[in-house]
Symmetry: C2
Subunit: 328 residues, 2 copies
Amino acid sequence: MKLATLKNGSRDGRLVIVSRDLAHAVDAAGIAPTLQAALDHWSRCERALHTLADALEAGTARGAFAFDPAQAMAPLPRAHQFVDASAFLNHGDIMERAFNLTVKRPAGVPILVQRQADDFRGPCDDYPFPSEADHCDYEGEFGVIVDDIAAGSTAAVCARAIRLVVLLNDVSMRRFVVPELQMGFGFINAKPATTFAPVAVTPDELGPAWRDGRVDLDLRVLRNGELVGHPNGAEMDWGFGELLAHLAYNRDLRAGTVLGSGTVSNRRAEQVGSACLAEVRALETIAQGQPATPWLRFGERMRFEALDAQGRSVFGAIDQRFVAKEAA
Amino acid sequence: MKLATLKNGSRDGRLVIVSRDLAHAVDAAGIAPTLQAALDHWSRCERALHTLADALEAGTARGAFAFDPAQAMAPLPRAHQFVDASAFLNHGDIMERAFNLTVKRPAGVPILVQRQADDFRGPCDDYPFPSEADHCDYEGEFGVIVDDIAAGSTAAVCARAIRLVVLLNDVSMRRFVVPELQMGFGFINAKPATTFAPVAVTPDELGPAWRDGRVDLDLRVLRNGELVGHPNGAEMDWGFGELLAHLAYNRDLRAGTVLGSGTVSNRRAEQVGSACLAEVRALETIAQGQPATPWLRFGERMRFEALDAQGRSVFGAIDQRFVAKEAA
């Protein structure tokens, strides 16, 4: 089942079901007005949503219409918790090697960072930022949205609470990353609003590409139409279930919590490319002594997409332009 | 105006208006079903809420009933963003002196940390935690809840968007604090769910105690009925407006964002005491070479309250028992 949220002037938009080929949609308001409402009562809504999705797939859903990703908000336009991992250790290793950094990470402990969830951006919305001197970067990631998880749950229990899989661009302003990491309290100005692909999918939609709590799909990253990377999500050093269990050690996680994988990064980065400029520039620094690829400039366009084995877009595409924010 | 959220079996509870003396309440569902709904449409709801509050104060509100804080959830049982500051530099100075720590803070930059907002706890609910070896601590704080704030807003504009003032206990598991700060990505296991006093108040309710975006009230902290500290909120090194402006540098803040002050801490800590055990133990370490006051044990009770100049409770009290979480 595939779900999206369309703009309707409200903060949470309206929930629709999207066909597998992303061509059509049907309003799901009769079941739940918003995706958060569906997640709040998933066990009550799930069957009705699936029935409607089946009807849409069979061409029998009344009121079906053409799905326009430009009208989509983030699947959850706002959530109550957004945690981002850095679960591809390869990425951290590259950054540490290039810039002589050291993350003091206790053995076995994953990197997780609490992030704001109040203002997720839609896949085709322009992304304004105040200054190119802030070193604007993208990070292509997979993520999950979960049901309620009780404190102390095992990784297996957590994995079973994963309701949806998403694709996101964790926009980063690199000028602030190192100073904010050195303070120790995580990201504030380094990580403004996050953008999501239009469609959230239930794990079963991924078929064999959903494996060990990981997304075994290439994440295609295009800068101004040119493919600059297509790393695969299967190399995560922790599965989403394990990351959730760490998070839930001493507290309940509530329905609608979004957990990102961290920038997708592969050990064959020289062959498959990277999902963020920081990694590209770090590899350039290791190879050539200095970075060559520039940060994002105003007017550039970024596209993120994942295709299934048949070449069909799974989540739809993030396709957004980065623009200057006019002074307030 | 004073607002609270009562338990009704739903995740967001039901919004009520509470009388100034906290004795009575009246349902506000006719105006907004939940506090988040009121904040989502504050300009539309504010006048009607004030009118109902005036009627409650005058004894003419229909359906008024006795207000029972034990039935209260947090004013916002869940929010879309919770940021905690550490805006009393005195606290950080004490911690750094006692334990030879250094926070690498760029000049003028406040400490802010993104936190989870999915599961705020009510004022009288038991607080379960898994192990006394995690070094359970409290942090008494003031906080604010804001309306929409556009990216790039000045501190003055941000201050005018403050809709409500709250009192909270930022529960902390100290065993994880230093390792998580050293990783750099903020708090995960160090900061489980946060508890709020039952009543959120509009800034005008504080009268002259709301000054320069700060709360000039003593925060009374009682451990098992004994007053252990009463530091004042006016010593914040940044006002809430300034903290919000830092946060909003490159992104919009959406209605319902909660911002905490950080543990209230005064330069006369030896006289007025502290709002957290970490600071008590740090002062003991500085004075005597080692800490003497123990961390919280299962079964202990903590109370947090702020009284106005006439000795009346402003926000109601957090009055909670810390208990063992049974193994899952």
